[in-house]
């Protein structure tokens, strides 16, 4: 934000920024774009949640030619998984700005006291959670409210070798998916907290209070976990490790959680693109990366200077997760909200110790119906 005046000076363009919380931004944006408002030029959006819908509805300016023409901008520098996430039917609609991966946070002091190493497989994760689960410390915490948990569940699904949708067909009742639901639910029920955790803020509070030995979520929360103002846990006791894996190895998501898009109804197309170019330039991404918000440019990730200031285990986890990461963390459909509810239902059944296979069958049928509906609508 403080760099904004540089851009205004260089370009002679006045920039007016509106900051909103994620939910507000999503509803405001959707209503504005749907109504064809022209008072919006550039917007930040979440590609995994909104990308497909916005693209199909024509709410994003096609940037394909602009990124191809500009050699300084260097589109190929953006990590392939992040490019995929903003590309639909081979047209580019957004420029990734912030990326995120799923990692395991753990308490180094508790692990050392128990003589444990950070788990690398789901089986080891379960064993460690069982051992560390004591009266005043919960062995393992993660999101459990089904719709919110979908993204964190995705790494379990990929680790077991499954996916939400395979070759355009729903695949959430495959053997791999059922095993993933089972793993996710068993861990939470046997070694997790009381009640269904809905948001990461709740997890962070538990970790900060020292009442959790392990926590799985996106790495962006690291800063809060080691914040001496908020946390009772010394920063040196907060460990970061790659997400444990199953038969398919460690397969966390590696997604562009935020990207910039341009409103097709703007009257300032060129100015908007100039701003996007500036905000996602290598220099800018480098600066932002140093402040702990990780971007999408490979060249910045390759630059050893861009990851200074964070501990070694965190740095290595990030690099490993980029290597093995999958470019989506939820079903890739138009109506992501609906799909999250559908694919999330078996998570709740698994946590409650119910019949996971039949819940997965039911979810599969609903997801198939949703996909069929969307295919029909796009034809």
């Amino acid at each position: 934000m403080e760099r904004l005046s540089d851009f205004e000076e260089e370009s002679g363009i006045d920039v007016e920024v509106t900051q909103l919380t994620r939910e507000q931004a999503q509803s405001t944006l959707t209503v504005k774009l749907k109504a064809g408002a022209s008072d919006l030029d550039v917007y930040m959006y979440a590609p995994p949640q909104l990308g497909l819908q916005y693209a199909q509805n024509g709410w994003m300016l096609d940037l394909t030619d602009r990124v191809a023409e500009d050699s300084v901008f260097d589109w190929d520098d953006f990590m392939p998984a992040t490019r995929d996430a903003v590309t639909f039917e081979e047209r580019v609609y957004g420029i990734p700005t912030v990326t995120e991966r799923e990692v395991l946070f753990y308490r180094k002091d508790l692990f050392a006291a128990a003589g444990l190493e950070p788990p690398t497989t789901f089986a080891e994760l379960e064993a460690a959670a069982a051992e560390l689960n004591q009266d005043d410390v919960t062995g393992y915490i993660a999101r459990a409210e089904p719709s919110a948990a979908i993204t964190q569940f995705s790494g379990f699904l990929y680790g077991h070798g499954g996916d939400f949708i395979t070759d355009g067909e729903a695949s959430i009742n495959s053997d791999e998916a059922v095993a993933a639901y089972q793993t996710y639910g068993d861990l939470y029920r046997e070694h997790g907290p009381v009640g269904l955790v809905g948001t990461t803020q709740e997890l962070v509070a538990m970790f900060q209070q020292g009442s959790a030995a392990m926590m799985i979520d996106a790495e962006v929360w690291w800063g809060q976990l080691v914040d001496p103002e908020a946390s009772t846990i010394p920063a040196e006791d907060v460990g970061v490790a790659p997400l444990p894996g199953g038969s398919a190895g460690s397969r966390p998501y590696n997604i562009p959680s935020q990207a910039l898009g341009i409103n097709p109804d703007t009257s300032m197309e060129d100015e908007a693109w100039e701003f996007v170019q500036w905000a996602t330039s290598p220099e800018m991404v480098f600066d932002i990366q140093q402040s702990g918000v990780f971007g999408a440019r490979q060249s910045v990730w390759d630059d050893p200077d861009a990851l200074t200031g964070i501990p070694e285990d965190y740095r290595e986890t990030l690099l490993a997760s980029i290597e093995s990461g999958i470019g989506h963390d939820r079903p890739q459909v138009m109506q992501v909200g609906r799909a999250r509810d559908i694919a999330g239902a078996p998570i709740l059944v698994a946590i409650e110790g119910g019949d996971v296979a039949s819940a997965a069958d039911q979810a599969q049928a609903q997801l198939e119906a949703l996909l069929a509906e969307e295919r029909e609508a796009s034809e």
Binding site: V194, G198, T199, Q209, E352
Partner: protein, 288 residues
């Protein structure tokens, strides 16, 4: 005669702008919602169709359970609030030491914003760090999930609503009580009626209109509850949608699923429900 007519016309002309503004502000959104319910939503230019109605009214997974939950929430909260509220008001009727302090404390939940109420209770009822489970632990009671447990969230929300809005009934009833003629009750005392008899056969019947007004106001308000539910269990009524009322369902359809047309259908159903309940209560009260 002519003068009277002229007076009337002047009156009419004077109030017309206000009536027009009210009609525009109230009628337009309603007509627009009805129009949305027959199309796909904003600017889609789609032809008139009944698809939205078919889809919503046949949704036994979420729409009908949400309708049922709205009814249970309203009836459950309202009945308990009336019983507790009227009872408390009767107790507070006679002045005693600290009378005013008690009244002030009673009003506190009422003047607190629902989101603040939600935050406070979320913290206190937090299953792993909250004070309530901590206290239960002293008595060897296992920690409960409260708002975070799909099975407990909805009853807990009804309790929160009762906690917050019972004082409203207390206040309205107290106001009604203070306006009651004393002679009637004195006469009952002379006739030898005891306290319970006087309350049941004299005070409560005299309070009837006050109670009806309180019930309509609170009932309609309870049906429309959104803030505290959204702020505690989040979008979709929490895990498994077990605390999803109609209002929360409509919000989810509009902003999570972006199904504006279907949301409009659910809204119309909701509007009819609220209107029907309000009319029913007022009609019955008027007849008796």
């Amino acid at each position: 005669m002519i003068r009277a007519l002229r007076m009337n016309r002047t009156k009419l002309i004077m109030i017309t702008p206000a009536v027009l503004v009210i009609v525009a502000l109230i009628a337009f959104p309603i007509i627009y919602t009805v129009q949305l319910s027959f199309t796909e939503g904003l600017g889609s230019g789609q032809a008139f169709s009944l698809d939205n109605y078919r889809a919503v009214l046949s949704d036994t997974g979420r729409f009908w359970p949400a309708v049922l939950r709205t009814v249970i929430f309203t009836v459950g909260a309202l009945v308990l609030q009336l019983v507790l509220g009227i009872g408390t008001a009767l107790l507070l009727r006679r002045p005693f030491r600290g009378h005013n302090a008690v009244k002030t404390i009673l009003i506190l939940p009422l003047v607190t914003s629902p989101v603040a109420v939600a935050s406070i209770w979320l913290l206190m009822l937090e299953p792993n760090l909250g004070i309530v489970n901590e206290v239960l632990g002293w008595f060897q009671i296992a920690p409960q999930g409260w708002l975070k447990d799909p099975g407990q969230a909805f009853p807990t929300l009804i309790l929160l609503d009762i906690w917050q809005f019972t004082p409203l009934i207390v206040l309205i009833t107290l106001a009604g009580l203070s306006g009651l003629p004393e002679e009637v009750e004195e006469a009952a005392v002379v006739d030898g009626a005891n306290y319970l008899q006087r309350t049941r056969h004299v005070t409560l019947p005299l309070l009837r209109n006050t109670i009806v007004v309180a019930a309509v106001l609170r009932g309609v308000d309870a049906m429309k509850t959104f803030d505290i539910i959204y702020a505690t269990v989040g979008p979709g009524g929490g895990g498994g949608h077990t605390a999803e009322t109609l209002n929360v369902y409509v919000y989810g359809l509009s902003f999570d699923y972006i199904e504006i047309g279907k949301a409009a259908v659910a809204l119309i159903a909701f509007f009819i429900m609220v209107l029907a309940v309000a009319l029913l209560i007022i009609r019955r009260a008027a007849r008796e």
